[in-house]
Symmetry: C2
DNA sequence: CAGCGTATGTCAGGATACTGACATGACGCA
DNA sequence: TGCGTCATGTCAGTATCCTGACATACGCTG
């Protein structure tokens, strides 16, 4: 028999949505002094770990569309935080790289975000955090067949 | 010492965002046949469990603003899924209730969403799900001081 | 070599949620 | 009674993200 969701407080989806929203709000507040949105920070973070990515690759990594990433990159480029190749070395993909200013603000932002994550998981020990992350990854995987 | 986020695959925030996004996408796809958005479903679900709530109370329960909930309710009311008192019994709050059609579609939607949640947590046993939900709630709580 | 499929960058339009603002009604307090 | 505060409903404007579309560039295949 199929049943309904039942009590919201016991719903996995509700809890997941609530936790994700709390994290997003906390990150927005923490990043506001740097004038960075969560999407902008995510873009910088991915770019810091994997320099030379194209806009489309960045979009997939950050879970937004190419179009959103395009607008996002324009803003970050105008602020001098990253630079894009003027011409495509191959195909149409334009490699993107952080500037010195970009790496600098990323260092600050990354520390801020790490602090938020530590606050979120302050009640967990190292092992519990690992299991929690694995569970989250398993959830995402199970939904993306 | 403050450190950065490190490898994204080991970041709690990244995993949480990814799982929440996968769930949202899966729910949107599952609810599309009923022509319900996730926010609309959430509204109906809360209203089914707590009839008579005002728009402002619903907004807080669903984590949207009063204004968003207002527009959302107009759409659901026009579809005949819920009805709002024409005059306020007290104060300005207008109690909202599901119609028969609303309860009917909620039953379907709730089963659909429950199926998505089961798919998401298919690899967990009952105990693991409970712990997982508790962990999520602890994360949300730790961020809302 | 021509054609097809795929990936990318970019432009335009629309949906959704938010912030700001205003009016109204209830309540507490001097 | 009158005033200040708060909660609610509602309107307007804005931001953000999405879908749709088009042109371009590469790779594969007949």
């Amino acid at each position: 028999m199929t049943q309904g969701v039942g009590d919201l407080d016991r719903s996995v989806g509700y809890a997941l949505k609530q936790a994700a929203m709390a994290l997003r709000v906390a990150m927005e507040a923490a990043l506001r002094p740097l004038a960075l949105t969560v999407s902008q920070y995510s873009c910088l973070e991915v770019l810091g770990q994997r320099p030379g990515l194209s806009a489309a690759e960045l979009a997939r990594a950050v879970f937004v569309t190419r179009q959103s990433m395009h607008a996002l990159l324009l803003g970050l480029e105008e602020r001098g935080l990253l630079e894009r190749a003027a011409t495509a070395p191959q195909g149409r993909a334009l490699p993107t790289q952080l500037t010195d200013a970009g790496r600098e603000i990323l260092t600050e932002a990354s520390a801020i975000v790490a602090a938020v994550e530590r606050r979120m998981t302050a009640a967990f020990d190292r092992e519990e955090v690992g299991r929690f992350v694995a569970d989250l990854a398993a959830c995402a995987e199970a939904l993306n067949y």
